[in-house]
Structures are given as structure tokens and as C-alpha cells.
Symmetry: C2
Subunit: 372 residues, 2 copies
């Protein structure tokens, strides 16, 4: 039972077959001149076009990067460089670590963080105030949060950014393939591994009018040295497969998460996080008082159930989640679920049977006080 499909998901047979076809036909360097390379280039171009279409972007303004992190790095540095003379980045408090690191790297001490409310929505008044200062190079507001699932009201965020004439960089690495693509952005970043494609790829889309300067003096500024063409083909096919049944899958997973949300909210000492309605269909985080996150994960893993924990980006270090802190939630003892389309109601039944018992056991073992 793999319930950690956020940032990674098992590949379907169709995606695996596309990958294998790509390895056979698209192994050559697409930058060269002979037939083998032309075939690789055609696969690459067709795959990029398919992904661009799904993002609502133009193929010629849709770029491949070496990872979502690399995409965020390049797009942030590149827009920052094009906005010469403006040296501040304004970012929501729930942006991914990769975005915070990129912003800090290029803007240094002039990174301004805008708070979110208890459900994780960015404070639009604060955003407007920060963007009104004329030294802002760009604003970074994600489409949806990879931990708590909250979907931002990007139409209103974009209005605020447009009024201030500040380019809006939208991290959509948690949302593409799980619901409608966002419409309001000047630059967009997406993560194929999050929609069941391979790791080691990032997608960056720009609007035709978005100004960007290369931070690195090479021909292919988005992925110097090139990408693995078969992986791009697999990414395109995985996204296509998701889109064919997007409404149905999204509705089904939304209901499953609602079941877990309702159940978890009724368990003593469990804090369910994020917006119950304006959210990703497949993601849920909740925190358990007096429970150690790592112990919970390990116990569930022993039962054959894989879940995520803490910040999706820092699971391995088990640091307290910055996102959970930003919404004022308990930032320890948390479980993050990410449902892929293959998850069944029976899986959720088993999870709902297992979880309260495991939580109670761990509290017993730790000698936790009774929860009223």
C-alpha cells in the first residue's frame, strides 16, 4: 500500500512502455545532425508539445530542466536578472524549500515572506502591501501546497501581482496532473515525478511576454548538458494518461481524502491541517499529539503501508515542517498521505482501521498522558 504519492508515484504500465520505447528510439543526443539524433529530437519536441498543451503554455516557451529544483533555480535567477535594479523577492510562507533556497540565493537578505492564514491561504492584503514597494523583482506563490494540499486563489493573487506589475512565479509542482492546471501565472514550474512520470526532470513554462535572462552562458540554459529524452516521453505519456480520467480520478480521490479527514478529525489529539474544500484531491496531512513522526512511519511501514511525514522536502531529515509552523499546526508527529490513482476504497478501509491503533500503541509505549 503506497500512500506517499506526492512528489513521486509508481509508474503505470503505459508510462513504463513509453519509457522503454523511448530508450529504443530516443537514446541519441538530440542536438546532432544524423537520423538517430533527429528521431530523438522529434520525440523530445513532441513530448514537450504535449506537456505544454496540458499546462496551457506555448511549446516554444516550455523548457525542460534537470529537476523541479533546477527549474525553480533557473527561472527565479533568470527573472531576477531580467528585472535589473529590483532586488527583492516576495514569497508566501508556504513555498517549497527549493523556492525559498532559490529566492534566498539570488536575493540574499531581501527575501520577504508573506504570511498565510490558518488554512494556508496567502494573506492578500499583506501581499499587496509588500508588492507595492517598487524594488520587487518577482513574487512566488505556489498553486497548491505539497504538504497540506491547500490550493491558492491564484486569480486574486495574480490580480495583486499585475496591479503592482510584478511577475508571478507559480510553483505548480504539487498540482499538475491532479486537477485543472492553473491559469494565472507569468512563470510556471511543474514536476513530472509528481504525476507518475520519472524523477530527474522539471518543467518551466513562461508567458511570451515574461522577461528572463540566462544565468548561465550556454546554449541550453535550462538543462545544460541535456536531458534524458525517453524520460521526457514517459513524462508526457504519464500526464496524458492522468488527464484522460482527470475529473473521475480527482473526484474519487477527493472523496477518499474526505473520509480520512473526517475520521482523523474525530480521533483524540489529532490535528487535521489545510483547507477542507479548496485543496488537492489526493493530499492530506494531520499531526498526532504525543507521537513521534519517525516511529509512526516505521510502524506503518512494517505493516506494509508507506506514508510521508513532516515537510515533503525534508522527510529524510525529519526537521519540523516550516509549512505546518506557518499555518500554526503541530509540526511534530505528522503523517502526510498522497494517493495515486490506483489506490482503492479497501486501502482506505485498512488505513482507517490501522491508524488509530498504531497511534494509541505508540502513545502507550511513550507513556503519553490521557487526552481529554
Amino acid at each position: 500500500m503506497f500512500l506517499d504519492a506526492s512528489g513521486s508515484a509508481p509508474m503505470t504500465n503505459r508510462t513504463l512502455e513509453a519509457f522503454q520505447a523511448g530508450l529504443a528510439d530516443g537514446w541519441a543526443d538530440p542536438a546532432r545532425l544524423h537520423t538517430e539524433s533527429r528521431r530523438a529530437r522529434q520525440l523530445l519536441d513532441a513530448s514537450r508539445e504535449a506537456i505544454a498543451e496540458a499546462l496551457g503554455a506555448r511549446p516554444e516557451h516550455t523548457h525542460l530542466a534537470h529537476s523541479p529544483h533546477a527549474g525553480i533555480e533557473r527561472v527565479t535567477a533568470g527573472i531576477f536578472a531580467a528585472r535589473r535594479g529590483r532586488d527583492r523577492i516576495v514569497a508566501s510562507a508556504v513555498e517549497r524549500d527549493a523556492m525559498m533556497h532559490a529566492a534566498h540565493h539570488v536575493a540574499g537578505g531581501t527575501l520577504t515572506v508573506v504570511p498565510v492564514d490558518a488554512r494556508g491561504h496567502v494573506d492578500l492584503d499583506s501581499l499587496a502591501t509588500e508588492l507595492a514597494v517598487p524594488d520587487v523583482a518577482l513574487a512566488a506563490v505556489q498553486h497548491a501546497n505539497h504538504e497540506i494540499g491547500t490550493v491558492q486563489r491564484l486569480d486574486r493573487v495574480a490580480e495583486v501581482a499585475a496591479a503592482a506589475k510584478v511577475p508571478l512565479v507559480v510553483d505548480a509542482t504539487a498540482s499538475i496532473g491532479h486537477g485543472p492546471a492553473p491559469q494565472h501565472w507569468d512563470a510556471l514550474v511543474a514536476n513530472p515525478a509528481d504525476w507518475g512520470g520519472p524523477a530527474g526532470l522539471g518543467i518551466v513554462a513562461l508567458r511570451p511576454q515574461t522577461r528572463w535572462l540566462p544565468a548561465w552562458p550556454e546554449g541550453d540554459d535550462w538543462a545544460p548538458g541535456g536531458v534524458l529524452v525517453p524520460a521526457v516521453l514517459a513524462a508526457a505519456v504519464a500526464l496524458q494518461e492522468r488527464r484522460e480520467v482527470l475529473d473521475e480520478t480527482s473526484l474519487r480521490l477527493h472523496r477518499m481524502i474526505a473520509r480520512v479527514r473526517d475520521a482523523a478529525a474525530s480521533w483524540p489529539g489529532v490535528d487535521v491541517v489545510g483547507d477542507p474544500d479548496e485543496r488537492l484531491p489526493h493530499v492530506l496531512t494531520f499531526s498526532c499529539l504525543y507521537v513521534d513522526g519517525e516511529a509512526l512511519l516505521t510502524r506503518l511501514d512494517r505493516e506494509g503501508v508507506a506514508v510521508g511525514s513532516g515537510s515533503a522536502c525534508t522527510t529524510s531529515t525529519l526537521e519540523p515542517s516550516r509549512v505546518l509552523a506557518a499555518v500554526g499546526a503541530l509540526s511534530h508527529g505528522n503523517v502526510r498521505l498522497g494517493l495515486h490513482p490506483g489506490v482503492t476504497d479497501a486501502d482506505i478501509d485498512r488505513l482507517l482501521d490501522l491508524l488509530p491503533r498504531v497511534i494509541a500503541d505508540l502513545r502507550d509505549e511513550a507513556g503519553a498522558p490521557e487526552i481529554a
Copy 2:
């Protein structure tokens, strides 16, 4: 007939099978805590260990980057940052564009280029003179050239660098998998796609004593956002497969290239480049007077023969090769061969039959003057 196996090569069945096994077992994010991730992490660690062993490096100092370019970028910037107060990079004139771009990016106007002789060997006296100045952050001298095949005398280069106490960065992206790994380096970069592994990966090895500072403030500084684990497994298996028959393959390809060298040297108006003996076994470049490089490639491609042209890095733009200019060779109308282990003597027979005719035809069509 694919004779452009330099920087890319068709994957063998064994490598493809490893890739597919990796996709089945190693799709999960290796940074997480559950069984699926542990399996991916084990595959990743075992693959990295195998590659490190082949490079003569320690696994804990062997890093995965998103491409050879990204590896060169990170290692150059990182060693430069660790050598604070020294702001010059000294590089041989035949370094790859990626190295020149990285050096220029981090060192700006203080990049110093050391000339090479007519066969492509770096001038050791000039190198010593440049490294004697105390402001040098690092020296970049490749192991073997990706265009003309010349193998540097790294033992002597390393002596010079060590005498000046300057760290030596060795670009081995054209040589690993084709002969013995170089022994003299402080940092080493390798390219799995060059030895029949997948594109979109770079390997960087450091000596334990080599000082390096992260240029990017994230956990995994070498490949932020991670790499595709199945690709790393395929890279390790491809390298292992090459090494099992390295001496035999290397000898066989060395003889094939010697045949083409001798033949091409006898054709009128053809200039064979590089060292005839101290060279990669599988690479050869020659230039043809009064012939357009792109036309030659296209004509050969129509005959079902894929070859490379110009600078291996700028084939797509058909710019004159900086490497050929550095050795004083004709930098237009050139053909670059890269033989993979599957190439047969019959392939070479056909090439040697075809090439002089195609060159003569193109000269006729262009109305080129008679060559004495």
C-alpha cells in the same frame, strides 16, 4: 551504422534490462523513509559504489550530478569557492565548452588559457608558469579530448599542479569506459552517456583532501531535486559491461581507428588530427579541404552512416571548432568518428569505401580546385 559514439552511444541489451529493472524497483524517492524508498536508496548506493570503484574513487566522495555539464559547473564553482582569495582559473586550450563556460562564469575575466602543441598536448612549461602565480584557484586539464582523441600526460600535469599546490580538475567525460581511468586528479568528472549509459547524468569524484564548498544552499548540492535512480543503475551496469572486455575492445577499436587514420591521411586534401598513439582508442577527427561539414554529414546520413562533425559540443550549430583551431588544424569540413564496441571491421570497410567517393562528389559539386 552509428559511428558517432562520442558523448552518446546505443545502449546494450544488458544496460536496457538494468534500466527496466531499475524502473520497477527504484522508482521511489530515495530520500524518504519507507520500504519503497529504502529499495531505491540501496540501488542508488550500490550503483554509485560500482561507479566509484571503476573511477578509483571513494564512494562517499563520488557524487551524482544532473549532467556532465552540471557536474563541471558544480565542481568548478565549489572548488573555486573553497579557495577563497584566489580568483584565477587556468585551463588548457582544448577543454570542453562546458568547462570553459563554467570557468568563465565563476572566474570572469581571469580565466587563463594554456596552449597545446600540434598534437593537442598541453604545454607543460606554460602551465608551470601560469600556475606559479599565487592567485590560481584551480587548474582544468582534461584526460582525453572528445574531438581529436589526444590523451594528456596527466602524471606530468599533476606534478606541475602539485608543485604549485593548485587543485587539478580533470574532465574525463570522453575517456572513462574506453581505457584505464586516470590516476592523477584532485577532482574528476565523468559522463555515463559516453560509455553507453543514459544521458542526463554526470559523475563527480573528489579526493578526500580536496576542499569544496557548496555553491547552492541545499541538502544535495550536486543534484538538487535528485536524480533518476534507474538511470544511475543503468550507468553502473553499462560501465561494468565495458570494463569486463576493456582491454580487448580497446585494442580492437584502436586498430580500426588506425586503419581509418592511415587511409584518410592518404586522401588528397585531408588533414588527420591528434596524436596517433597517445589517444582514445575509438575517436578520430579529420578535416577535408573544400568540403562543407554539414553537406558531408548529410550525405553520409543518407547512406545510413551517422558520424559527428566539428566540435562535439557545437555540432548542432556547426560553429568552427575551438579545439581544431587550438591544434592549428583546418576547422571546417571535418568528420568526427566515435566507434562503440559493436562496430565491426565490415563497417570500417564500408566507411573507407564510401568516404573518398562522397568527399570527391562534394568537391565536384562545389567546383573545388584540383588538389595537388
